[in-house]
Symmetry: C2
Subunit: 187 residues, 2 copies
DNA sequence: AAACGGCGGAACGCAACCGTTACGTCGTAG
DNA sequence: CTACGACGTAACGGTTGCGTTCCGCCGTTT
């Protein structure tokens, strides 16, 4: 019964508004204005700002990234780094993600949603990546996927989403070498 | 002329309020309420929410961390990791920093203040840490301090401030080994 | 003793947004 | 052709916060 095009307009407006003003300052009225839609259309779909944002965000976040399997660990790793760094360089993502992460620190419901949406999926990627490498004999058997994920995503996230420094040409390459060495050392 | 104890009360209130509701939702009136102070006392000191927060934050952020020099790279590194992880585990810091980082993505003035307060200082620590290690022959001469800082702070920040996972007993130890190996490999 | 000035408190007009309601329009299903 | 229901618009009363102003209190300076 609810018109699909209106829903889409609202979803887009929420994403843009989130990127521009953040969750804390996001208002239903601004979303409605931006979407060219009445407030009623929004309240007909969700009862809350929180509920609305959570539904929209988890929808977006659950679009799964294909797990790489290029045949070698360094290949898998560079591909993963490329995918993640590209994603983190998109303006909307790099604004929304840190904002919601910060918000999650004070709102348990947001925290839970993000954990489910990101952590679970990310964990799967890490386990597959490391598992493949261990199976191929490229990493020692005791390699901890959790540590690995920290070592891989941490610096990228730090550089792109926090420090907001550009990634230079050979950075990912250097980084791949460094991470590989690091993981071999922890086994 | 301005009473010092009042100023202190306001500063504390701002920090607590920042941690609880974030910059976006921070209001002068709430700060005044929390500090047990009239709004006039605040406006007598700063003219804006932005100006107020920036002054208070950069004041706090500029308290310099002593640069470690334990005699060996792994010693320096574990000490640094300990200091940073302890800092990031404080409730107020782990709430305020990601929040302001996210805010910085949309407010150039906040971005500039944070860059000056954090990046500059952090860069100095990185350069000293790596410089010492290179001088001692523990790391290859070409080691890039910028990459090193990413490799060291990134995973810690990710784990503590973003993913909000606890640090287990031997994590920092493992991590020290991993980072050392990584940095040797990039030279 | 008197003047000064920072203080808290209270109120100002203004703006934004909340969540809800009433109304009139319009496309579609029956 | 009619009835339904989602739509936009507009308004509601209530809340919150802005930045400013005026007041009376009180400690310090002179």
């Amino acid at each position: 019964m609810l018109r699909g095009d209106i829903t889409v307009a609202i979803r887009n407006a929420v994403m843009k508004e989130l990127a521009e003003v953040g969750y804390g300052r996001l208002s239903i009225e601004a979303v409605a204005r931006r979407a060219g839609v009445g407030k009623t259309a929004i309240y007909r779909r969700w009862s809350n700002k929180l509920e609305m944002v959570m539904e929209i965000i988890s929808d977006v976040a659950e679009r799964k990234v294909p797990l790489p399997d290029t045949g070698s660990f360094s290949g898998d790793l560079s591909l993963l780094l490329m995918i993640v760094s590209t994603a983190l360089q998109h303006r909307v993502a790099s604004q929304i993600i840190p904002d919601l992460m910060a918000e999650a620190a004070r709102n348990p419901q947001i925290a839970e949603t993000l954990q489910r949406a990101l952590r679970t999926h990310q964990q799967a990627v890490g386990e597959k990546l490391i598992g493949q490498a261990v199976a191929r004999g490229e990493l020692p058997a005791g390699t901890d996927p959790e540590v690995a994920v920290d070592l891989i995503l941490g610096p990228l996230y730090w550089r792109l989403a926090v420090a907001r420094q550009p990634i230079e040409e050979d950075y990912l390459e250097k980084f791949t070498v460094a991470v590989t060495a690091a993981l071999r050392a922890t086994g």
